[in-house]
Amino acid sequence: MKRNGTKESRFTLWWAQWLNRRLPPAARVTLAHKSIFILPTGFGLFWIFLVLILFVFGTNYQNNLVIGLSILLLSLFNTCIIYSYRNLAGLTLNACASPQAYAGETLVFPVKLTSSQPQFEVLVNYPDNQIKVIKTIGEEPTVTLVPFDNLIRGRVSPGRLKIESRYPLGLCRAWSHVNLDNPHIVFAKPLVSHSQLKSIDADNQNITGDRGMHIPGVDEFKGLKQHIPGESLRQVAWKQLAQGRGMLSKEFQQPQGEPHWLIIEDLSSPDLEKQLSELTWAIDKMSGRGQVFGLVISRKKIPPAEGDVHRIHCLQELALLPQFVGGDS
């Protein structure tokens, strides 16, 4: 993505390194004089221009009140510098766990903001991404979801979060670039496919069977569900009822047939990405149906299981596989 060798990129690199030294990545950052930058905005420059014009105007008409007004506006600018700083100083940013996301989607990075003094109209965004406006930040934590457009799978770091404020008069822009050290594992983009799924023992079997499925039964405890009047009283969870959690029924199920295996063997195949996408789709599909499945990646084997934790585990394993490096690039 970056052009190498040009002066601009060398500067960008130097800037990034400098920032890393000054503002090292951390999950919790409190802004202070070391991390806040302030410069006048375009409007601020116009303001200074107006101050100059009024000064000349007052001088030419030998009018002390006009000169006074121009000086007052200059002083107001000075006051605003202090207030601009105040509007970010002491702001604490906490990175929170991000929700699951697939490549090609807009990721959201939740950031918890607190400040000991009220701060207003703070804008946060990742470079080249949508800006979030937070009207007020106070002692009560505010969680804001900062969007980040992302195309790739794997461990994605959103980079430095930009926090900006022009409060109170828009004369100065106070800002900071904070790395919250919150990389997120992005799953591969799901791709609909039925043909690529293989199982370890039977090559030509279709997944559209009952294999790996659970049917309602009596063998394994599955969980609790709302009791429906008319159901057997033997299944009522009396203990939970005594705890005051309401009338619930125990559900049982039993596995049907052998678990399903999802396999990816050749990690150097050119259509690796496609395979990963299809597997991602398949995992979601099977997990949605409550099927039991296992995953085989080259020599690594994830034993069959079911449930959301298993699904996420499998998807993460797929997401973190190294990118295919072909001979042509």
Binding site: L54, L65, I82, L169
Partner: protein, 674 residues
Amino acid sequence: MTHSSQEEIISRHSLLWLLIVNIAVLAPLYDKLTPWSLGICGICLVWRFGIFIGKVAKPPRYLVTALAIASAITLALVTSEIGLLNGLINLLILGYALKYIEMRNRRDVRTVVLVGYFLIAITFIDQQSIFYAVNLTFVTGINTCVLVSLYREDVKLKETARIGFKLLLQSLPLAALLFLVLPRLPPLWMVPQQKSTQTGLSDEVSFGDITELTRSAALAFRAEFSMSPPSNQQLYWRALVMEDYDGSRWTQNSSIKDIEDNTPFTTSRRQQPEGSPIQYSVIAEPSNQHWLFGLDAAFSSDIGIINLPDYRLYSARTVDQKFQYHVDSYPQYAMDKTLDPTVRLLNLRLPDDINPRTFELAQSFKKDLPDPTTRLRAMMRYFTEQPYFYTLTPPRVGPQQIDDFLFENKAGFCVHYASAFTFMARASGLPARLVTGYQGGEFNQSAGYLSIYQYMAHAWTEVWIENRGWVRYDPTAMIAPERVLEGFDAYFQAQESYLLDSPFSPLRLREFPLLNELRLTLASIDYYWSVWVLGFDSSKQEQILQKLLGEVTQQKIAIFMLVSITFIGLVIAYSAGLIHFHRDKDRVASTYLHMCHLLEKKGVIRDKQQGPTDFCSIVEDAFPGIATDFRRFTHYYVALKYQPLSSHRRKKTVKLFSNQFRKLRLKILKGKTS
């Protein structure tokens, strides 16, 4: 990006502020607006209000453009009538009003705010009283609130106002400091001036002219003397010298007029007289005229003042705002010891066949008294010997004006007496001229200055006498000596026409001593305002800095500024909540230690390493009488020391903690421990 679309929206809160600021900025400019500018401004305001309450849509852009172009063209056409500066001001005001209805995004709001500040500055061109300064500072605050409202959209009007005005007030100290220190420069280039009605004296005088002025209680100028001011009868403020007389009116001679008209190319023409001067400074009120005021042979070395050959002072620019200048006057100095023959002829010239009876009278004086001084004294005496009296409402005169006045009506005021006397002097062969200006002044005891009002306008005569130069003769003083000795007010209290046009003038309060005191106090405040704020110049600056710093050097000023700015910055930062003093925490710790000390006296010693909870259980065992109280006390202490509390909770807990401390101390001191 959505942010840019968010940028577009102007919140209702800002719209309300814009409505307020529009009225606040334009109201003080009412006298600058031409009627149709006022009309357009009104329409825009009503339209804006309609948009605000949701009854009308935004006007289409082409309509606004068309209106703007039409306004500009119309303005260009009337500019010659109202003057260039007024034309430009009207254009700016119209731009302000039109921008105001077609505002679409925040950027437009910012533009409107910047133009608003500029319009406030324009208001200051004409209006410089304290009242306007305070009022316009307030408007500046409102204009600032508009900007704040862009960033605080969801709060009440009061909250925005609080922030805006807080910012402004916190900026005032630094502004005052910079006002004091920043260099004052002379005008950088010529600027267009207001076309305004002229007030005060006129450059021609005929019977009946000055009565207009005696009805006005407006301030003409003020004077502050470095020593005590001369007595009232010395206070003849010369403004104009009239040498041409056509039988009905006195006018300035064209040679002087030429000098006056070409001031940009003339420099001071005469040398400063020698001798010990009376030094004073004059603050002239705006008159939109050029002439200034000085006593006797006046000289000023200030920039922008021309010392005219007839010993008057003349301002290079029209006095369109308060103007302060320093004067040295030389009462002993003989004006024009030798008289140029042409000037002599000029001051002897009289129109043919006019006022024959007066001419005859003058001739008889000449024949009887060849010595000019005695002759003039006799002429002056003539006015007291005959039954002349002073009135501001004299009877009408015919074409032989002076004859009618001297021999028929025998009633008139200063212009009548001065013209008659000048006429007689000329007719008797003595060069004479009419001088107009002001006579007297009201002394303000507390602030130590003289106020000269328009109704103190006066006319008198100057006669040229061998070896003595131009000598002042005031025939009016012969008729109404009190007027000159004690001032105009002493004489005219009962006259009906006096201050006729000013029924509500504060000068009328003179009859009530307490109110008069108040009037004089207000006048003093206004005076200090004029001198120290409006008239603040490089010499005043030097004076103040010298008082503050001793000898003024660049380094001293730099250090002074640095210290002051740092101090002001710290104060602002503190009030903004950036600097915390952790007194609170320390107080908690010291209170706890105090408690430990009290218990130590009772025999329970806390080990330095012991935590508060451990210590608590020891105390509970030793003093069961205070066990519960001490446990609570420890609980608060632990909470304050180790728990992150919100500031509100913290305050509450600190209060509980100190209450508990007091309760415990009382118990321990009373010995209720077991």
